[in-house]
Amino acid sequence: MTDGRLRVAIGVLALAGAAVSAYLVYSRYSGTRLVCTTGGCETVQHSRYAKAAGVPVAVLGLVAYFAVFATALSARVEAAAIGAAIVFGGLAFGIYLIIIQVAVIDAICQWCLASDVILALLALVSAERLRRLAARPQDASGRPPMAAPG
């Protein structure tokens, strides 16, 4: 898969994650009930773990997904590295939150799980992108050299 396609995949996944986060943010601030087949979404969203330093985790997720999307717009290796760092950090935090849901809150939020699945996919694609870019020689601008015409 080319770097362009990997960036498109990252962009699409980041937008999907942003959509999930945006729905959780909208539900939180509008007071509308979440569509929830697992039955625990409200419990999780009203738990003390739904905020970090007073900021709803869904808001942090929304910002992070947009940041990852922004890194997919650039072909630079630095952008790929920043995107991957956000994704891996977010995935580790997501795993922590799954443990909290199962072991402490005793309720599962399907939207949080959906976000975790998206993060896991993003981690795979981001790792592959980083691996490919790191293997290529870079020019002074940080971009991989263009293929010679003809």
């Binding site: 970090a52 891996f88 580790a92 935090f93 922590y96 072991a103």
Partner: protein, 259 residues
């Protein structure tokens, strides 16, 4: 080590390090934030390491002394008079009655989606008084919840216990209404003597309140929960026709009665 940390490897190590820092910071903030939320609540009366469903397990972390939703419930009912199963101005122009089972998922939906707005717009303003007739319609596990609700009602906290039961509701008849859950709910309610609530569950006052609720449900021919009635004291009470469990569904009836 020096040979390892250059070029490609340095990039991977850098990304991994930044990711680790992001994760550690977020987890620390989350853990510390949840700890500070706990420390503002009354001290727990139990130190047993139990899960939120009341089961003991060595793998589970120490149970929090409070339950999720405690702060919101406390804020919702703060300063509103409660007398056994009544919430609001005793001389309100309108009385709204709810028949509910603590295990009923639709009662939970009402408690989460409609009740906060009704309390804010109609109860806090003194226009409407709410009366909760808690009944057992779904099974044996409801009984422990009903008794705890009325026992808390003796201390003027029935609505707080009901709200927290709904916020922490488990699957019907899975045995989720345990003494441990009730204790943690009690610990989450400012001003409630948890041990007294647990002891009062089997008092003659609670027996009498349960019998009265059951009689009211029988008189009103309640076959499902939640069911709502509204009317003016001394007048006729009519069932509220609700198409959904949102504030919008209750406004026409309540608005016409408070005029």
């Amino acid at each position: 080590m020096k040979r390892f940390l250059h070029g490609r490897n340095l990039l991977f190590v850098g990304v991994g390090s930044v990711a680790a820092v992001i994760a550690v910071v977020l987890i620390l903030v989350s853990v510390l934030g949840s700890s500070s939320a706990e420390s503002t609540s009354p001290a727990p009366t139990t130190t047993a390491a139990t899960g939120s469903n009341g089961t003991t397990g060595s793998a589970a972390p120490a149970a929090p002394p409070t339950v999720p939703g405690a702060a919101g419930t406390a804020a919702l009912f703060r300063g509103i008079p409660q007398q056994l199963n009544q919430l609001g101005n005793p001389n309100a122009k309108v009385t709204m009655i709810e028949f509910a089972d603590p295990q009923c998922p639709y009662c939970r939906q009402f408690a989460l989606d409609a009740l906060p707005t009704i309390v804010k717009e109609y109860v806090r303003t003194g226009k409407v008084k709410l009366v909760l007739f808690a009944i057992n319609i779904l099974g044996p596990n409801s009984d422990n919840g009903l008794r705890a609700m009325y026992a808390a009602g003796i201390q003027g906290k029935l609505w707080n216990v009901a709200s927290l039961l709904y916020k922490n509701q488990g699957a019907e008849n899975s045995g989720w209404i345990t003494d441990d859950l009730l204790r943690r709910i009690g610990n989450s309610i400012p001003g409630l003597d948890t041990e007294k609530m647990l002891a009062d569950r089997f008092s003659p006052e609670v027996d009498s309140a349960l019998a009265a609720s059951s009689q009211q449900a029988s008189n009103a021919r309640i076959s499902e929960t939640p069911t709502f009635f509204a009317g003016r004291p001394g007048g006729t009470f009519r069932q509220i026709p609700v198409s959904s469990l949102t504030p919008k569904a209750f406004r026409p009836t309540l608005d016409s009665l408070v005029k």
